[in-house]
């Protein structure tokens, strides 16, 4: 009775107020059916390898060979072939490492944080973004591993008993980084694989029906006998949510620990408490730049406009804008604290960044990271896919320069003027870094050729016909 009264009261208020109905963003356009989604995504894998894929693949492998050449020369000669010299003993290696790790973070943000926040638009981009994460971690790992010089001792990074009997120094942030990055890589692969599981089962069955027993066997092997049972889904969903729940603190901790590599030292320009949040924001900013760089061509070439809608692009642009603005705020705050802290060395470090020998790098960083994202305030810009893509490239460039500015300018002008220097990369470093784009592209091209680029099960779950309450709103 009270309930009926309440309902009547509510109806009366609603009719009086007459609230506007906010339209829900449509996540799969043109009212596509479940089987359309399956055919669309599987069709990419089942179809003939397109000619453009071969061209891109050949170029990517060629570019990747530069990394192979660079590190082969380094291993054969010694770490001196890089341009590091006192006082800049850390340069492109750690710049490139942080750059690639940061790119990976958007993948985890999309798959974990947006999952916990129930942002359903993540479904069409999360698979590719997670793949991007894994490949970015692979590229990142190359640099610290080869920086040890004698690569065959790289296992000294891990607490494995060795003939010198001593153990790792767990008081060092570099050792924390070993654990952070290896955990990050492992958990990213596990999370990605769990997401792939139901989709591998679809491919197993489709290849079986098409008579391709070999590929059916391969996909089936990794599908673990998945059969769409709801008793399985129940545990699967729980496991997926827990993985999202632990990946969220993971992604935040990884870049926090990466920033500790610098912040825990005493060098002016590095020894600041703002580093952890500033690095995390920068990582997500750069990662979304890379997601846009990758997804927009993919959307165009495979005609995925119904799955990656304008709404998705809008969301990605807005996150880029938000994180880019946080990064801009952090730049300003660093300057403020350098002045307010009244430490002459700190003050000098920042003046030197903006007006010293590396001012060119600083202003590239400012224009790419602070000015570029501000264009995303405008709907006209967000609606212009070509423009968004170009801006995303600027974000990538800017974030590389951010790491360069932080690392190299601080080291090149440290405490004693007598030990100051100017660092330039050697050709070996340039080769190695240039080649990582090839390594990344090669892996990404293989991914889009052999694995479903979007999670089919998750996409189906966000369509209107997936709603159990007669959700056919048409």
């Amino acid at each position: 009775m009270a309930h009926a009264e309440h309902a009547a009261h509510r109806a009366a208020i609603l009719s009086e107020v007459n609230p506007a109905v906010l339209p829900r963003a449509v996540l799969v356009q043109n009212d596509r059916s479940f089987s359309w989604i399956t055919d669309k995504i599987c069709g990419i894998i089942e179809g003939k390898t397109p000619a453009w894929w071969w061209y891109c693949f050949c170029v990517a492998v060629f570019v990747a060979s530069f990394t192979v050449a660079g590190i082969t020369y380094l291993v054969a000669t010694g770490v001196g072939v890089w341009g590091h010299a006192n006082p800049v003993n850390w340069a492109w290696d750690i710049v490139n490492f942080v750059f690639w790790i940061g790119i990976g973070h958007a993948g985890t943000l999309i798959s974990a944080i947006l999952c916990l926040l129930r942002q359903k638009w993540r479904t069409s981009i999360n698979r590719a973004a997670e793949a991007m994460t894994i490949f970015a971690v692979v590229c990142a790992a190359i640099f610290p591993v080869f920086h040890v010089g004698r690569i065959w001792y790289a296992w000294y990074l891990f607490p494995i008993p060795n003939s010198n009997i001593i153990w790792q120094n767990f008081r060092s942030p570099l050792e924390w980084d070993v654990f952070a990055v290896s955990t990050y890589g492992t958990v990213s692969v596990l999370f990605w694989y769990i997401g792939l599981l139901p989709d591998l089962a679809i491919l197993r069955d489709r290849f079986y029906a098409a008579g391709n027993k070999f590929r059916s066997f391969l996909y089936g092997l990794f599908a673990m006998g998945w059969r769409g049972s709801n008793r399985h889904w129940s545990n699967y969903e729980m496991a997926y949510m827990i993985l999202a729940g632990i990946s969220t603190p993971l992604v935040l901790s990884v870049h926090t620990i990466v920033s500790f590599d610098f912040a825990v030292s005493l060098l002016p320009g590095w020894h600041t408490t703002i580093f952890p949040p500033y690095f995390v924001a920068g990582a997500i900013f750069s990662g979304f730049g890379m997601v846009l760089t990758l997804m927009l061509p993919l959307r165009a070439v495979y005609h995925l406009e119904d799955l990656i809608t304008q709404y998705h692009i809008d969301c990605m642009c807005k996150i880029t804008l938000a994180t880019g603005t946080i990064v801009g705020y952090a730049y300003a705050m660093e300057f403020f604290i350098a002045w307010y802290g009244a430490n002459p060395y700190e003050g000098f470090a920042f003046i030197n960044r903006a007006f010293g020998h590396y001012a060119w790098a600083y202003w590239i960083m400012i224009s790419c990271n602070v000015i570029t994202p501000q264009f995303f305030w405008f709907k006209a810009v967000r609606n212009n896919t070509a423009m968004v893509w170009i801006l995303s490239i600027f974000v990538n460039v800017g974030m590389w320069f951010e790491r360069f500015v932080i690392i190299v300018t601080s080291l090149a002008r440290d405490f004693l003027p007598s030990s100051w220097g100017y660092y330039s990369p050697s050709i070996v470093e340039i080769f190695t870094f240039f080649g990582t784009f090839g390594v990344f592209s090669t892996l990404f091209l293989l991914f889009i050729r052999f694995l479903p680029i979007m999670p089919m099960a998750e996409l189906k779950a966000v369509t209107p016909q997936a709603d159990v309450h007669g959700g056919d709103h048409h």
Binding site: I166, G225, S229, I246
Partner: protein
């Protein structure tokens, strides 16, 4: 031995149909039955009367193991087995041991969660009678199935078939074991 069927399978085309059918099968008191869906259907766990998943408990064990492993390893290596003076800092402190222990918590939780999910689900199981059904492929594409197993105490070929028909199931077929 006479071929005892694995059970009966019924096809449903729409999400609400299978959802309401599942409620009817649950209310009829069946225990050994399942719904095959191409995606996790929101609310279907309750419609099937499933209990909360056991996976989180396994995850918790994994996480606690990870944290303990991290702390113990750092204490044992640097504070007990080979004490090394670095910058006059203590040999062990939970402060500097925290980042690594934190990462190991996450690493072990991830492995426990995934292994737990597979174990609780009884996977990998590359052979299952349900996978022998001709149209099962559609259950991962765009259709829904309800499977009631013959080993269920309430299973009775005629009555179970009638229940599935009443619930709106189509193409009700026996699956061989």
């Amino acid at each position: 031995m006479a071929a005892q069927p694995y059970g009966l399978i019924a096809t449903f085309d729409k999400t609400p149909d299978v959802f309401h059918a599942a409620e009817q099968v649950r209310d009829a008191g069946y225990r050994n039955w399942d719904v095959i869906t191409p995606f996790p259907v929101h609310g279907l766990d309750r419609a099937m009367g499933l209990k909360r998943s056991l996976v989180p408990r396994i995850s918790l064990i994994g996480g606690l193991t990870g944290f303990t492993t991290g702390m113990t390893m750092i204490w044992w290596t640097g504070g007990y087995d080979y004490k090394l003076v670095v910058g006059g800092k203590p040999f062990f402190s939970p402060m500097f041991a925290f980042p690594v222990s934190y990462e190991l918590t996450i690493l072990f939780t991830a492995f426990a969660t995934i292994i737990g999910m597979f174990v609780v689900n009884g996977l990998p199981m590359h052979y299952h009678p349900v996978l022998k059904y001709d149209h099962i492929r559609r259950g991962m594409d765009d259709q829904f199935f309800i499977v009631i197993e013959a080993r269920d105490p309430r299973f009775n070929a005629a009555n179970t078939r009638a229940l599935l028909e009443k619930a709106g199931g189509k193409n009700i077929t026996e699956i061989e074991a």
